[in-house]
Amino acid sequence: MTSFPHAAHDPIADNSIVTVESLSKFFGSRCAVDRISFAVQQGECLGFLGPNGAGKTTSINMLLGLVEKSSGRIRIMGLEIPGRQREANRLIGVVPQTDSLDPDLTVEENLLTYASYFAIPARTAKTKTAELLDFFALANRRREIIEHLSGGQRRRLLLARALINDPQLLILDEPTVGLDPQARHLIWERLAILRERGTTMLLTSHYLDEVERLSGRVLIMDHGRVVAQGVPRQLIKELVGTDVFEIEGTAAELDALEKTFTQCNAATERLSDKLYAYTQEDCSRIEALLKNSRGWLRRPANLEDLFIQLTGRSLRES
């Protein structure tokens, strides 16, 4: 278990939108979430990461009241959850992982109906709907039924729906899963605009490039626990290194190289016929030794390296 010094900040800070203290969830005897604590600050985008079954969705569902907590404390904008869930939900917008658009209704009706659940007056709802459909480039599909929308259009409509109540907190559970690059970029662009406007976001995603792009701070979960949280670049530098060498070669070659890298204060990892070296300092002098190897590359360490480092390479199939 890796602990991280930045995690020590006071979770009851004044401008926290969400504070979670020692939150746990048991399903029978299985512990899905194990005493996690974190806070989401006003205006930030917190990336929530972890392999499948790590407890991310369970944690988010506890914030939303879809899963009852076993112990611990949750406050959203000062409101105790689940006691004041109804008031809290008024201030939250959610883009769920699975499409829950109303297929019986048109694009526009989806937003108007959702607005009615928030008791938004009809006139305000109409204006807001038009505004959101414009923002998400859906205005010309206003009267379309949901079935006729593409995957990207559905996701954008889910985002528009999540914003219908002008939420203080936007929860995004895998907002671009299954989309083509064009559709993802359009969504990222809109999310970046929202972030600039100061919308507080909680984002889960398996696409680490997405998280790196959008989140100022990340929290990594595994086996129901928080294994690290902090600013991605700092976490990567402290826990992984600055550069990564990926080298292919024979076992003998890689053995020798591994030794050299270790002398240069780099952490190494062997994977069949591949050597990974995570450097802490300048090891460029070793590059001369790599000229004869089958293939090699050097790249900056990224969030994916951090993720693998903290949660391992083994598959999680629950």
């Binding site: 939250i92 209704l105 109906t113 659940y117």
Partner: protein, 252 residues
């Protein structure tokens, strides 16, 4: 009023319903009207009077009550189960200020409204068969609505327990069809042996059938207040149970 938060779900359902108006209308009225035609007109001409009514007159109010039952129960089984599982409508609504109780009340009141609508259409069609309901029939409408609430809540309990659409076959074959046949719609319960009759009288559709017939023709031969109070209590209990079970299904 805060209690009426569920009306937004009712409005959502009615918005969808208006799009499929004809299909649902024929779906919920086809069967009772055909029964009335075949049994009342076809068979009834050969039969003597029952309780001073022609067989067609005898059948008509009970079939109205059955139309309410089918319409309400189908809405909160097939309809609600689709919203619960396939469409994830409830999950989406739970992320708004509405909670499980609001959803369940919205669905029950909606199912009852659909049931009442089917009942009204049925009553309106009766003069076509030469059956003229009395002015008391207006007081029948709240009775039909309560019965609709009961069967909507009953259907919702089935939805909470269902793992697939096939599950509703049990509900239809083992509960709705026997109720349709043995609640005094087709034959008078007075002629049955007293011990067996108690069982038939306690079936949840029976009081509605009896009240329908009484109010339709303005005859007050049975203990109507007891039947009304009994139906109300049973309906409240069923609504409460459906809230408990749907909550268990939606919240882990």
């Amino acid at each position: 009023m805060k209690f009426f938060r569920f009306r937004t779900l009712w409005l959502r359902n009615s918005r969808v319903w208006r799009k499929h108006f004809m299909a649902t209308l024929i779906g919920s009225l086809g069967q009772p009207l055909l029964f009335l035609l075949a049994m009342g007109y076809g068979l009834g001409r050969e039969m003597g009077e029952i309780e001073g009514l022609t067989y067609l007159q005898f059948l008509a109010p009970g079939l109205t009550a059955s139309a309410v039952m089918y319409s309400a129960a189908f809405e909160t089984t097939y309809g609600s189960y689709t919203r619960l599982s396939l469409q994830k409508t409830y999950e989406a609504i739970l992320m708004t200020p509405l909670n499980v109780t609001d959803i369940v009340l919205g669905e029950i009141v909606w199912g009852a409204s659909k049931g009442l609508f089917a009942g009204i259409i049925m009553l309106a069609a009766l003069p076509l068969f030469g059956v003229w309901p009395s002015a008391w029939t207006l007081t029948l409408l709240p009775v039909l609505f309560v019965s609709g609430m009961f069967f909507a809540a009953f259907g919702l309990i089935m939805t909470a327990l269902a793992t697939s659409y096939e599950f509703f076959n049990y509900f239809i074959s083992l509960i709705l069809t026997p109720l349709f046949l043995f609640s005094g719609i087709f034959f008078p319960l007075q002629s049955i042996a007293p011990t067996a009759r108690i069982f038939f009288e306690l079936l949840p559709l029976t009081p509605t059938v009896t009240l329908s017939r009484m109010l339709c023709y303005g005859q007050f031969s049975e203990p109507w207040l007891l039947k009304i109070v009994g139906s109300l209590l049973l309906t409240l209990l069923t609504c409460w149970l459906s809230i408990v079970l749907i909550r268990k299904r939606l919240i882990q």
